[in-house]
């Protein structure tokens, strides 16, 4: 009790005296940043996920081959959710007497789609508008492919089963499509109430029943939890995560960038805190020695330091969280125009991150220094030159970094990202430390070369020794982050935007009969100006792994389950496509012939529990074959090239009946010509990827904008480190300049010396920072974000100039007050 009272009282006094300003500010910045980023990222991520909902037409979908119990809809209404229903099944569509085509009939009910929009036009490849509602009874909206195959246009009457419908719109885009093109036939969108009158659904028909839900996250989660156990084995939920690999990949990257921002902020704040705490401890050696001479025991000092730190943790957590919340509000308001999405309200979850951050940073990085204070020898009151106890050692820092690493990992759950950032910062810190020692050594020999100011400044670097090294590390880290955030950030984001080139394929053709390919290709190259790439493919089902039938395997992973339930598209190729990278095993060589081999996408491999060496058995059109898995691939799904979960080595599959898939880019002005393509090659199905492409582009653009804002906080943390580094030698400088001035040196000479010292430190730190920023940028791009990164040629000159100018200027400015202060005042201080 006595200890606590004392601890709080002396904490209040230290705060009042400004002894703790930098330390507390650094922790508050960390907490503010992490909570603001947390609050904001939370909201942005949810907003982006809502974009994914638009693709799904709902937040949550129940799909089933059997009719879904209607009570679910009532339960959903009771929870305040909006609902809609849809039915899809393949059926023959007749137009007139002779034209007929297989189509996917999509019966949709009122309210559909709950998220996103249906886009239609009044003529083939005409201007599209957002549909108002769903088709009225007796009306149908047909995809261009279907119209092409039937040889009819808007206004024609078509027949499905016993029901006659009038085509009133061309269906240009409909959400809730499976971008994996499982349903091969083009769609005919009708009113759900017309479906029963068609009289085509029989037992055994391939029907997919869907119930769509949208609403509050909590209500959805509650609904899911209640309904889940009663779904039955055939029905399954689909949510944003199933919205398609392309969108997911984009969202993942967006979250990666946002997380990166908060991560770097925390590490930097930790560095600033450690530096500030070290300074605080050094300044308090005498006070502690004095307290000991007055009877304070080690336990007392230990406990009171701990109590003070806990008070600091609580205070900074509170202040930082409040500030963070306020800041994200500003951030959200600022970014609404730019992001063009309405942000959902923020949750309180990120607040605990603030407490966690503050605890880790303070306990991990400030405590070791203050803990060491208790070992101050009391004899220091009589012998001031007595060496202070060793402050935080490598071991304590290792523990602190471990704790920080653990905390960040707990938040981010991405070992690679955390590893690259923490490892990179650590490596740079070590490098800067080494370089600092080098400079200190070198500076010692450098005397007597330049003018007085430079001589004095550079001599100071070597004289300060350890202090200079600490400053170089601090400046290096601070500058590296500034560089990362200025130069590298734009490069990374540009690289991200480049992943979807302006001429990314926006049309897919499937069901191409191999003999018709040369003519089709000529048409695409000639009329459409596209450069198509084509791959052969077959559809097959995985029936056994390692000889054991899949139904006997205990596969629980949703991705694995959905993989074995459906027929899959399988291609074969000699060359590894550009958007794929082998992660395990080896790719068969270009000239490979002979026994077939399989290459599996990594997500599916994980879902199935399959690794290199396992054998897979497939059924393709009644024929079975078995092949070993020789490689596992990472697929860049947002490349928009035709990508496959399954790839075979050339050879065996070529014998099987196959079709081609082709993808190419068509400029907007040539889109109308697709009409004649459909008429000329009626067997071919056209997939329009424009909508998904636009969706992904939008996510990339909006997320990039959000990242820019979030990085502002990281910037602030970088500045805190610089500030803390400048402070390291502040006291010494004040004293020195007072003595020098008392001895007759004029202020200008002293300031020039200070400027020379900081400029030299800044130049070295800047060069190191450029090196670090390049390395981290490179590793981030290639290893974490899967991007092609071009190093900016400006990085090195920017690092050098920026470093020497910024550090030189801030260092000098920060010291100016000390230099200007009357030497009498300084020398009189106790």
């Amino acid at each position: 009790m006595k200890t606590l009272a004392w601890a709080l009282r002396s904490l209040a006094r230290d705060l009042r005296a400004g002894e703790l300003t930098v330390l507390v500010a650094a922790v508050v910045v960390a907490v503010t940043a992490i909570t603001a980023v947390g609050f904001f990222t939370d909201r942005v991520a949810r907003a982006i996920r809502q974009q994914a909902s638009a693709v799904l037409a709902a937040d949550l979908v129940i799909r089933s081959p059997e009719p879904v119990a209607r009570v679910f809809l009532d339960e959903a209404h009771a929870l305040g959710l909006r609902t809609a229903e849809a039915i899809a099944f393949p059926s023959v569509v007749l137009a007139g007497d002779e034209a007929s085509s297989l189509a996917t009939i999509e019966g949709v009910g009122a309210g559909y789609p709950l998220r996103g929009e249906i886009r239609v036009s009044t003529q083939m490849f005409g201007t599209t508008t957002v549909a108002d509602g769903v088709p009225a009874r007796g009306e149908a909206w047909a995809e261009p492919g279907l119209l092409g195959q039937l040889g009819v246009d808007v206004g024609a009457a078509v027949q499905v089963g016993t029901r006659t419908l009038v085509i009133t719109r061309v269906l240009e885009y409909q959400p809730d499509q499976n971008p994996g093109f499982a349903n091969l036939a083009p769609s005919l969108l009708v009113n759900i109430d017309d479906v029963a009158e068609m009289d085509v659904i029989r037992p055994g028909s391939r029907v997919t029943f869907r119930q769509l839900y949208a609403g509050e996250e909590a209500a959805l989660a509650g609904f899911r939890a209640r309904v889940g156990p009663r779904l039955g084995s055939e029905a399954a939920f689909r949510d944003q995560k199933d919205a398609g690999e392309q969108i997911n990949a984009a969202i993942d990257r967006a979250q990666g960038f946002l997380t990166l921002a908060s991560l770097v902020t925390v590490v930097l704040a930790a560095v600033a805190t450690a530096m500030a705490a070290r300074l605080y401890a050094l300044r308090h050696l005498d006070t502690v020695a004095l307290m000991k001479s007055m009877g304070a025991t080690q336990v007392f000092i230990e406990r009171s330091s701990l109590a003070q730190l806990i008070a600091i943790v609580l205070g900074t957590s509170l202040a930082g969280s409040v500030l963070g919340y306020a800041a994200q509000g500003v951030l959200a308001r600022l970014s609404v125009g730019l992001l063009q999405i309405e942000l959902p309200p923020s949750t309180v979850t990120p607040a605990w991150l603030g407490v966690l951050t503050s605890t880790t940073v303070v306990i991990g990085f400030a405590l070791p220094h203050l803990w060491a204070l208790k070992r101050t020898p009391p004899l220091r009151v009589l012998r001031h030159d007595l060496p202070p106890p060793a402050l935080a050692t490598g071991v304590t820092y290792a523990i602190a970094l471990g704790a920080l690493f653990g905390m960040i990992y707990a938040i981010v759950r991405d070992l690679k990202l955390v590893g690259v950032v923490v490892g990179g910062l650590l490596a740079l810190a070590c490098l800067a430390g080494l370089a600092g020692f080098g400079l200190v050594r070198l500076a010692a020999r450098f005397r007597g070369v330049a003018g007085v100011a430079w001589r004095y400044g550079i001599a100071n670097i070597s004289r300060r020794g350890g202090e200079s090294v600490i400053q170089i590390v601090g400046f290096g880290l601070g500058l590296m982050v500034l560089l990362l955030l200025t130069v590298v950030r734009t490069d990374l984001l540009a690289a991200w935007q480049r992943t979807i080139p302006p001429d990314a394929p926006n049309y897919f053709l499937i069901n191409i009969d191999p003999p018709s390919w040369p003519a089709l290709r000529k048409f695409i190259e000639g009329e459409l100006g596209g450069r198509p790439s084509a791959l052969p493919f077959i559809r097959g089902r995985l029936i056994a792994i390692g000889g054991i039938p899949v139904q006997d395997l205990a596969i629980t992973d949703p991705q694995g389950l959905s993989f074995i339930r459906r027929e899959q598209n399988i291609t074969w190729t000699a060359e590894l496509p550009a958007s794929n990278a082998v992660r395990a095993g080896t790719w068969w060589g270009a000239g490979h012939r002979g026994e077939p081999q399989v290459s599996l996408e990594e997500g599916v491999a994980r879902g199935l529990g399959v690794s290199v060496g396992d054998t897979l058995t497939f059924n393709v059109g009644g024929e079975e074959f078995t092949a070993p898995v020789t490689s596992i691939r990472h697929v860049q799904w947002d490349s928009f090239a035709p990508n496959f979960y399954l790839m075979l080595s050339p050879g065996l599959a070529e014998e099987l009946p196959q079709t081609y898939i082709a993808s190419f880019y068509v400029a907007p002005e040539k889109r109308r010509l697709l009409n004649s393509l459909v008429r000329q090659f009626p067997g071919v199905t056209v997939f329009d990827l424009e909508a998904i492409l636009a969706q992904v582009r939008m996510i990339v653009d909006r997320a990039s904008a959000a990242v820019q804002y979030v990085f502002l906080f990281t910037l602030l943390a970088g500045v805190m480190v610089l500030l803390a580094a400048v402070q390291v030698t502040r006291d010494e400088r004040r004293f020195e300049s007072a003595i020098l001035r008392a001895l007759g040196a004029d202020r200008r000479t002293i300031l020039q010396g200070v400027a020379a010292e900081f400029t030299t430190l800044g130049a070295l730190a800047g060069a190191l920072a450029a090196f670090g920023a390049t390395a981290i940028g490179l590793v981030l791009a290639e290893r974490v974000f899967d991007l092609e990164f071009r190093i900016s040629p400006w990085l090195w000159p920017a690092g050098l100039l920026f470093g020497s100018a910024l550090v030189g200027l801030t260092g000098t400015l920060a010291t100016r007050k000390a230099v200007n202060e009357s030497p009498v005042v300084t020398l009189r201080e106790a």
């Binding site: 007055m294 201080e829 106790a830």
Partner: protein, 228 residues
């Protein structure tokens, strides 16, 4: 061991020695010091610079540990206590005044004087501190920070701080060393006044003859040995 306080001896050393290791090998800075100081006595430790005065003072106050011999402070053998034990003993029985004052720069004069009372967990710290600051004539300087005080004023604050716990022994290492004659005089007056009033034992190191002459006894040290 009989109780030393009974015969009025607050400080006693026996065969006290201190060695330090230096680049030139073992260096004996204090050798075979035997002395006894009675309660209420004022003693001056004098001697040339580097003779070992500060070293002896540190050993007597338990701030440092001897290489040889023993020290009894208020009846307790310091060599049997650990650092915390010695600290607790100091907290109860000992006060310090230093040549360079050692006021905490971030605390006001009043807070500096309150410091030892607060460390002892005394609730009346502010009241007591104010009384003692009154006694040293600094009533009007309570809320001033050290940098706003003159050297003499700082040392008076330091004396107030040393006396506020009513210690049995007060150690002073060159208390007037940084002061001009007039201020030094005033500080000395205070020290001896309090020594008389509160019967506080005063052990001070000084180079100043006048100050040494005012003490009951003068102990001279040369090259780490007492001169008798």
């Amino acid at each position: 061991m009989q109780d030393r306080k009974l015969d009025g001896i607050v400080l006693r050393t026996q065969g006290l020695g201190k060695q330090v290791s230096s680049p030139e090998g073992q260096l004996t800075i204090l050798d075979d010091v035997d002395l006894e100081i009675r309660a209420g006595e004022s003693v001056a430790l004098v001697g040339p610079s580097g003779a070992g005065k500060t070293t002896l003072l540190a050993l007597l106050a338990g701030l440092d540990q001897p290489s040889r011999g023993q020290v009894w402070l208020c009846g307790e053998d310091l060599t049997t206590l650990d650092e915390d034990g010695r600290a607790r003993l100091r907290g109860r029985r000992v006060g310090f005044v230093f040549q360079s004052f050692h006021l905490v720069p971030s605390l006001t004069a009043l807070e500096n004087v309150m410091l030892p009372l607060e460390l002892a967990g005394r609730a009346d710290a502010a009241v007591r501190a104010r009384e003692v600051l009154d006694a040293v004539g600094l009533t009007s300087r309570l809320s001033h920070y050290p940098k706003q005080l003159s050297g003499g004023e700082k040392q008076r604050v330091a004396i107030a701080r040393a006396f506020v716990t009513r210690p049995e022994v007060l150690f002073a290492d060159e208390p007037t060393g940084n002061l001009d004659t007039a201020s030094g005089e005033r500080v000395a007056d205070l020290l001896f006044g309090l020594n008389r009033q509160a019967r506080t034992t005063l052990v001070l190191v000084t180079h100043e003859r006048d100050l040494a002459r005012r003490c009951d006894r003068v102990i001279e040290i040369v090259a780490g040995r007492l001169v008798t």
